[in-house]
């Protein structure tokens, strides 16, 4: 039964265990039934309402059954560009239910999901934790038939991908698509060399080296890493923590997936370096649920490093001890925001915190914490070995080093590219085979939609900053469809905490849809801008502060498209539909039929 006590065994009796227990129950039963909610609440000492609050926050948890097998089909714009509609239809026909539903026989549940980090091999889906990429309608039908025939999803994978995707610990059909190997991430690296070098230095010297290298956060925000470590080290409220943000959720980014697949040890070395620098003995890798299939391989890399004395007690023969634990997410874009990530790692709803205090002061479990991106930590390990001058010789004076870009969309060679900062959009398009592009989305939906006139702009922190997502749009694409998809994403992924992000984005999207329907006036365009600015200025965290960008950056870079949609000179309620209003009124009065006729006259 679902109130089976064995589900809670091994989990501490406190709220920090909440998400881990929910994950166990969800995995065993396909949902969290009411009796399990009471059991969990009693075990961790929370109210049932609080437990339901946590379950309903995360996309991959559910209070309702999701089917014996659950299919989560990616809903990113690139998936749509690559034929998602036909795949979705095939899933629905074969399963016998619509998306958002479970088939009548309870065997299959179909659900859409935000970008799962496979944008270079769409359409993709996660089926019972197994990733399926490059789906066709036929492949979709075969998956459903296989599941109905009692096969496990992992046994339905025909051919494994390249590199470590073929290893016994991964066995995924995912491909890396590494198109350009740069000197920082993909340069020759002797395993453990960063750790051995680090223990011969003082923590202050490590921080100094990272500062001299001018390493800026690779997640997109670009905060100086050395400074962050310095702030964290100076805080007096031990224990300190290192948290690796492996929750890349920006639609179109998948570069951390490739790093974690091919270079997990480099990331862990970077975490050890960070730990040594700030004075932490524990590190946490917060892994997005979409990448849970990499967990056995990551755990194995950790075990290898412990065996080699590169993690654990007195590492590399020093007095320094450091180890790393992996925590899983459960489907929430907002958890890529560092303070929301910390809340989630502590077992709560992933709602951002107010700052100050910043995570370096009040972070994981309320202690000084440095939260760094996967790529940042890998780069830090390399800088320690190769030296700051080597790093600053790459890139531009203000944006040192290289950036790993995830490129997808209308181009000949989608995949990951390690390029030096300062590359122009045009140069990138030549590299990836997309010279015809009409627009390039740099930095995902929260970034900038660049028009052809902006193709000489450069990818660097002072111009086009990006966490790594690059989506190429060919000349035949509809900008409005793209923007609509991005706005749906933000509405869906807002945590709902603050007014402007929760309500504002819904209202902004409605206004946008009105304009796209051709019912907008010039006043509506001005209001799109005003409302977008309102949401940016008053939202509580980075999600809300960037959520209007799909509309604002296309208004700025494609003004002619918007102008062609609106009625000139009108400023009355152009969206008022008299026929619909009369119909509504008649329905309310139960005079449906006669009035419909009247309204047509």
């Amino acid at each position: 039964m679902t109130n089976d006590k064995s589900l809670f065994q091994g989990h501490p009796k406190d709220p920090s265990a909440l998400l881990d227990i929910i994950r166990t129950v969800q995995g065993r039963h396909g949902h969290v039934p009411p009796e399990a909610v009471s059991g969990i609440a009693a075990h961790v000492g929370l109210s049932e309402a609080e437990v339901r609050g946590a379950v309903t926050f995360y996309h991959f948890f559910s209070l309702e059954p999701r089917g014996r097998s659950t299919i989560y089909l990616n809903d990113s714009i690139t998936s749509r560009m690559r034929g998602r509609t036909a795949v979705a239809k095939a899933f629905e026909e074969e399963a016998g239910c619509r998306f958002g539903e479970v088939a009548p026989d309870g065997s299959i549940g179909l659900f859409p999901t935000s970008c799962i980090g496979m944008n270079d091999q769409e359409p993709s889906a996660i089926v019972d934790g197994t990733v399926f990429t490059g789906l066709t309608a036929d492949a979709a039908r075969a998956v459903v038939r296989g599941l109905r025939a009692g096969k496990a999803a992992k046994d339905l994978v025909g051919k494994f991908g390249d590199g470590a995707n073929q290893s016994d610990l991964v066995r995924a059909m995912v491909v890396n698509n590494i198109r350009r190997r740069g000197p920082v991430l993909f340069g020759d690296h002797e395993a453990g060399s960063a750790i051995r070098k680090m223990v011969a230095m003082t923590p202050e010297a490590v921080i100094e080296e990272i500062k001299k290298a001018n390493l800026l956060g690779r997640g997109g925000a670009g905060f100086p890493t050395g400074l962050k470590w310095d702030f964290c080290r100076r805080e007096k409220n031990p224990p300190h923590y290192v948290v690796c943000n492996a929750d890349e959720g920006e639609p179109g980014t998948f570069k951390d997936r490739v790093i974690l697949t091919e270079l997990p040890r480099l990331v862990f070395e970077g975490m050890a370096v960070a730990g040594y620098a700030v004075g932490a003995e524990e590190g946490v890798l917060y892994l997005r649920a979409e990448y849970d299939y990499l967990r056995p391989s990551l755990e194995s890399a950790l075990a290898d490093m412990r065996r080699e004395n590169l993690l654990g007690k007195n590492i590399a023969g020093s007095a320094f001890s450091f180890d790393i634990a992996i925590k899983s997410g459960a489907g929430a874009y907002i958890c890529g925001e560092e303070s929301a990530l910390l809340e989630s790692a502590e077992g709560k709803r992933g709602e951002p915190r107010d700052r100050p205090p910043f995570p370096v002061q009040f972070g994981y479990r309320g202690r000084p914490t440095t939260v760094n991106n996967v790529e940042t930590l890998a780069a830090a390990a390399r800088i320690l070995v190769q030296g700051a001058p080597w790093f600053t010789s790459l890139g531009t004076p203000k944006s040192a080093g290289t950036k790993l870009l995830s490129v997808s969309g209308d181009c000949a060679r989608p995949g990951v590219y390690e390029v030096e900062f300062g590359l122009s959009v045009r140069e990138l398009l030549d590299l990836v085979g997309g010279p015809e592009a009409m627009a390039v989305q740099i930095g995902g939906p929260s970034g900038t939609c660049v028009a052809r006139s902006g193709f000489d702009r450069k990818i660097c922190f002072s111009d086009l900053a990006t966490g790594g997502s690059v989506i190429v749009f060919g000349p035949e694409r509809d900008i409005f469809e793209i923007v609509a998809n991005f706005m749906d994403f933000f509405v869906e992924e807002s945590c709902g905490w603050c007014t402007p992000c929760r309500a504002g984005n819904v209202l902004l999207k409605k206004k946008f849809e009105k304009v796209v329907r051709g019912q907008g006036s010039e006043l509506d365009l001005k209001e799109l801008e005003d409302w977008g600015k309102l949401i940016k200025c008053t939202s509580r965290c980075g999600l809300g502060q960037t959520s209007p960008n799909p509309i604002l950056t296309t208004l700025q870079n494609f003004p002619e498209l918007y102008r062609a949609k609106v009625r000139k000179g009108d400023d009355y309620l152009t969206e008022f539909d008299l026929a619909a209003a009369v119909r509504d009124g008649c329905e309310a009065a139960h005079r449906h039929f006669e009035c419909e006729e009247t309204s047509h006259e």
Binding site: G45, L46, S47, E48, A49, E50, R52, G53, T56, F57, A332, I334, R349, D354, P356, V491, E492, E493, S494, C495, G496, W497, C498, T499, P500, R502, A503, G504, N505, V506, L507, K510, E527, W531, L534, C537, T538, S539, R540
Partner: protein, 234 residues
Amino acid sequence: MSEIRFTIDGKPCTGKPGQTIVEAAKDNGIYIPVLCHFEGLKPVGSCRICTVRVNGRYAAACTQPVSEGMVVENTAPDLEDMRKALIEMLFVEGNHMCPTCEKSGNCELQALGYRYQLLAPRFPYLWPRRELDASAPKLVLERNRCIQCLRCVREIRAKDGRAVFAAVHRGPHVTIEADPELAAALSDEEARHAMEICPVGAILRKETGYAVPIGERKFDGAPIGSDIEKGSER
């Protein structure tokens, strides 16, 4: 303890270390409108009505601590319009029927609407369908009026610390839920406190209503915030 000196709209102010801008402003006789904020509760910055500019950057005054030399803008016309827009947003996001609401006159959202001279909102009404929960013996949870300020979530707890109210779902689907078991155990006193702490009419006591007649209620005589501003005129 040393005093912190800063300015609000050019007026020299003083504050104590650790004090938020909202608290310090109040001590200096300056009203910064708030809605989710409630004295004594940990601020959460959810409504954003208290948005100010601090050294040129936007911040929620209820969560931002004062610091030496800080320059705070509070009544710039663009800020006041943003606040008005946020109030309008809360009105269109729910279903607020003031004339039939037991909280009318005591409602802080309504009072802010008057203070900001809200006529017709700039946003279209969303008319959401929201479930009313009357299952608890002493309370009605009238979600049509809920503005997700999280006051009840923060304040109303069982003796063992478990939260009686919790936010469920996320994004535009967030709703406040009352834990059936814990809500049933609330005393008359606790239930009244839950109603009082709710800034709007989302938490109502059962079996009693309109104890104070319309016309004699909290905001019937003077606009919200005038008590703080009156202090400064002395």
